[in-house]
């Protein structure tokens, strides 16, 4: 691994630690997460990410986006977070670890091979042995060098953590104060928030069998004195313990090993791909281009020729952060890291339905979705959005439970608002999750007449928090465009600038064509023909379609049914509003518990059909890993430093040779009009020709080829980047070469008859409009790349003039990712 790769990884680790350091003080005040260390760490990272994004946006609005300032703040937060983590681990008081109070427990802290050496409830276990004190058991036979005489001996556990490991609050970094002050309420016997009825004295003799998980919260700390254990009243247990009665045993080891190994393989392959410089079209168009421009100008500039500059840009703020610390690879790793958080959020949601071990399998299944793994390799925002929506749904569902108290309900609503605001700060498609939340809320509102007031207040609280978090982006859009959700909702808020055609209904949705019963086949179409729904790269894989029908013969819980119902609502909305398979990622955590449920119920199947189904599902899970492995082959050399990033980009990114040349030759104030929308690697300002044409209609003003140069010069353009398709995608090599020759021949003929070509270039308005509309749609459609030829034709006609005012600086051909061969030309305007 070379220095650049290590630097990028370190930058992302710094960002994560800085986010955790900022999010932790907020999350530690949320008491509903006290007994869920995994959830608390996840929420700390997410809340920290949201706060960092808001902070960077604030700096951008103030014009303070300077790399040294961003780097200094990150270093400070990183050091604070690291200090908190190490200090919390090292200096955590003994009282925060139940094992410190007790001698080794039978479950986990026993001296290996010495039954009875550690019994949780034994009388002599009430205080740790002082250092050097002999053990009451065979002390004379054991040398004092063994460390388990100085403190408890954590024996390796196979399936479950010992109950004494789950401290209240889990990670003791932010342990409540009463656990940190020996002279505090702990000395008086009970923590301040404990009720006497919640605690019972432990028996003198070793405890009998392990207590039922729903009855005892093992995380509780026994107050000083005689050991006690916390007995939770019904309805107050942590939510993952309030499962329906145990339906299945723990997942078989082979299944856990298989699924986790596959997920780890997929994640590592995605990491290798993410360590290569980004080449994804949307990323180079605006996900990275906008942060780069903001960093260059030190503020959140309004870029009139970039439609995306007034979108919600929370994810882009994270990319800006990574660009300031390291570069585009770190930004790519940020989204890879969000893939992990997405799976983690899926685990949190699945814990409401299935046991925690099965819930981790659900997270792994989400991670093994081809679209998720593929998205993790590029700096996009769909995975981060899905993580946020999943967390908001989890918190919302928790808040709407019957058993939670008023305080807990308010905290869950607050968390739901934070996550929903984060999602609304990333992408407009958060609107698809809002009806799901509303449906759940309406159901509980009807079912819980006593809680209606609280539910109403909670919904208002969630909305206010979400608006507070995301409002800045919508206000910014309204300020610049006159439409807070530009380019959507033009009928309600007509914007001052015409929106791109891609956001106007053009093609009929491929979903449910024919309607009626045909709509039932939509999941099949989405699985088998993802190219109709935005592209194969983001496909969902077959495991969902193959396994979920098994729910018809299983006994399901109400929670699972409701989760699947919400998924159905989301799917219907998705089909009606924006049937792009990328936008289906938020549905996966709702479906994953169903998949896990069927897996668990498959043990009821007879041997042969179970083996056949399991083998098919295993093969299905193997597909994305194999796919990522194949993709990784191309990225691994650059990830390991065997190939330089520049060489990789010359090999993979069509716009990079032109960008490298432009960065070398052109002055910093140059302005390029480009047919290619991938502009991230250009240092000079690049304006997309399709947007420029839509906003200015410059092509209609060109009456003579010489007019083109004059018009462009008036608008400040100094250079053109022309892209012409020589051989379209999908042609075999022979046909591609023939098309290449024919194109060159055509070009020669055109040069001989420039007058005729000028007339052809200045085609009628109707054709131009059609072409413009198609170009706008296609650039965002993920159905392959096509560039509108208007500028190429006009420039070709101008070049044919005796004194064209244009000078070709460079040209090259490139075979793009979609297989088409294109010619790139960098042209100077004199």
């Amino acid at each position: 691994m070379n220095w650049q790769t290590g630097q990028s990884i370190f930058a992302v680790c710094m960002m994560m630690m800085a986010a955790w350091a900022v999010g932790c003080p907020v999350v530690r005040r949320v008491r509903v997460l006290d007994n869920d260390p995994a959830g608390r760490a996840l929420w700390a990272l997410v809340v920290g990410g949201i706060l960092w994004g808001l902070g960077l946006a604030g700096l951008g609005l103030l014009g303070l986006l300077y790399v040294p300032l961003v780097g200094g703040l990150t270093w400070a937060a990183f050091l604070v977070g690291f200090y908190q983590l190490v200090r919390g681990l090292e200096a955590s008081p003994p009282s925060s670890w139940p094992g410190k109070h007790l001698l080794p427990t039978a479950g986990a802290s026993s001296v290996r091979g010495r039954p009875g050496a550690g019994s949780e409830c034994s009388a002599q276990a009430t205080s740790p042995l002082p250092a050097g004190t002999a053990s009451p058991i065979a002390s004379e036979a054991i040398p004092a060098k063994y460390p388990f005489f100085e403190e408890e001996v954590p024996a390796p556990y196979e399936h479950a953590p010992p109950p004494d490991l789950v401290a209240p609050g889990g990670l003791p970094v932010w342990a409540p104060e009463w656990t940190q002050t020996p002279a505090g309420p702990l000395e008086s016997g009970l923590p301040p928030d404990a009720e006497a009825d919640d605690w019972e004295l432990l028996p003198e003799e070793p405890a009998p069998a392990a207590p039922a998980p729903n009855a005892v919260r093992p995380a509780a700390i026994a107050p000083a004195g005689r050991p006690r254990r916390r007995v939770d009243p019904p309805g107050h247990a942590p939510f993952w313990q309030k499962q329906p009665a145990a339906l299945w045993p723990t997942p078989p080891d082979w299944l856990a090993y298989l699924v986790f190994s596959l997920a780890a393989g997929g994640v590592l392959a995605a990491l290798a791909a993410a360590l290569a410089p980004p080449t994804a079209g949307d990323a180079l168009c605006y996900h990275l281009e906008l942060p780069k421009r903001f960093l260059q100008s030190h503020r959140l500039d309004y870029l009139p020729y970039d439609d995306a500059c007034t979108y919600p840009l929370l994810a882009e703020m994270w990319f800006l952060w990574a660009l300031a610390l390291d570069g585009e690879v770190a930004a790519q790793l940020v989204h890879w890291q969000w893939g992990l958080l997405f799976a983690w959020a899926a685990v949190q949601l699945a814990q409401m339905v299935v046991d925690r071990r099965w819930a981790w399998l659900a997270g792994a299944v989400v991670l093994l979705t081809p679209g998720v793994l593929n998205e993790m390799t590029a700096p996009l925002n769909d995975v981060a959005l899905a993580a946020m929506t999943t967390l908001s749904l989890t918190a919302w569902a928790q808040a709407c439970q019957n058993s939670v108290g008023a305080g807990e309900r308010k905290e869950w609503f607050l968390l739901a608002g934070l996550a929903l605001g984060g999602a609304a700060s990333i992408k407009y498609t958060v609107l698809l999750i809002a009806p799901c939340l509303a449906a759940l809320w309406a159901l509980r509102y009807g079912q819980l007449p006593d809680c209606r007031r609280m539910l109403l207040h909670g919904a208002v609280l969630t909305g206010l928090v979400a608006l507070s978090v995301s409002g800045v982006w919508y206000l910014r859009a309204a300020w610049h465009r006159g439409n807070p959700v530009y380019p959507l909702a033009q009928a309600i808020w007509p914007s001052r600038i015409p929106p791109p055609k891609a956001h106007q209904p053009a093609d009929p949705s491929p979903v449910g064509q024919g309607r009626g019963l045909a709509g039932l086949a939509d999941p099949w179409s989405v699985t088998m023909q993802p190219e109709l729904f935005g592209g194969r790269s983001f496909q969902l894989g077959a495991v969902w379609l193959a396994v979920l029908p098994g729910l018809f013969w299983t006994q399901t819980s109400h929670r699972l049914k409701w989760l699947l119902g919400l998924a159905g609502i989301y799917f219907l909305l998705w089909a009606m509003v924006r049937p792009n398979v990328r936008f289906l990622l938020p549905i996966l955590p709702m479906l994953a518990p169903g998949v896990i449920w069927v897996w668990a119920e498959m043990r009821r199947m007879p041997g042969w059909p179970r083996t056949a189904a399991a083998a098919a599902v295993g093969g299905c899970l193997l597909v994305p890993v194999a796919w990522m492995g194949l993709r990784m082959r191309d990225y691994l050399p650059v990830a390991l430093g065997l190939e330089s990033r520049q060489e990789f980009l010359y090999r993979r990114e069509p716009s990079y040779p032109a960008a490298a040349l432009a960065n070398l030759l052109l002055p910093p104030d140059a302005k390029i009009l480009s047919q290619d929308y991938r502009s991230f690697y250009f240092d000079p300002v690049v304006v997309r020709e399709s947007v420029y044409r839509r906003l200015t209609r410059y092509d209609q003003k060109v009456q003579h080829p010489a007019d083109l140069v004059r018009l462009l010069r008036l608008d400040g353009f100094t250079h053109l980047l022309l892209v012409e398709e020589i051989a379209p995608a999908g042609l075999p090599k022979k046909e591609s070469a023939r098309a290449d020759r024919e194109t060159l021949s055509d070009r020669g003929n055109r040069e001989e008859s420039s007058d005729r070509d000028v007339r052809e270039n200045l085609v009628g308005q109707d054709i131009r409009e059609n072409v413009s509309a198609r170009a706008d749609r296609e650039e965002f459609s993920d159905r392959g790349i096509r560039f509108d030829p208007t500028l190429s034709r006009l420039a070709e006609a101008a070049l044919a003039l005796p004194d064209p005012g244009l000078q070709e600086l460079s040209q090259y051909r490139f075979t793009d990712a979609d297989g088409s061969v294109r010619r790139y030309r960098l042209i100077a305007i004199h």
Binding site: P37, A38, A41, L89, E90, V111, R112, G113, A141, I142, Y146, F148, V153, P154, Y157, H159, A160, P161, L165, V166, A167, G170, L171, A212, P213, P218, W240, Q241, Q243, A246, L247, P249, T250, D355, R356, T527, M528, Q529, E531, R536, A542, L545, A546, V547, G550, W553, E601, R603, R604, M605, P606, P609, R610, A612, A613, A616, V617, G619, C620, V623
Partner: protein
């Protein structure tokens, strides 16, 4: 004759206390309390099991075919 006490293999702890705590925290985060083993569920009817297996096999085969064919 009393058999000599055989010393158990000493447990090999991590090198540092911090590392051990970190390991335990991660384990506690990943794993939850043990759940009791439920009673043996009733077996599924053979025709349902074969129907489901056929559906899974058919779907996966169609998916692989669709992906490889294009």
């Amino acid at each position: 004759m009393i058999a000599p006490i055989r010393m158990p293999d000493p447990w090999a702890p991590e090198k540092t206390r911090l590392w051990r705590k970190a390991r335990r925290i991660v384990a506690a985060m990943l794993l939850g309390p043990p759940t009791p083993t439920p009673a043996e569920p009733p077996p599924l009817a053979a025709w349902k099991a074969w129907l489901f297996a056929a559906w899974v096999l058919g779907t996966v085969s169609a998916y692989v075919w669709a992906m490889l064919a294009k």
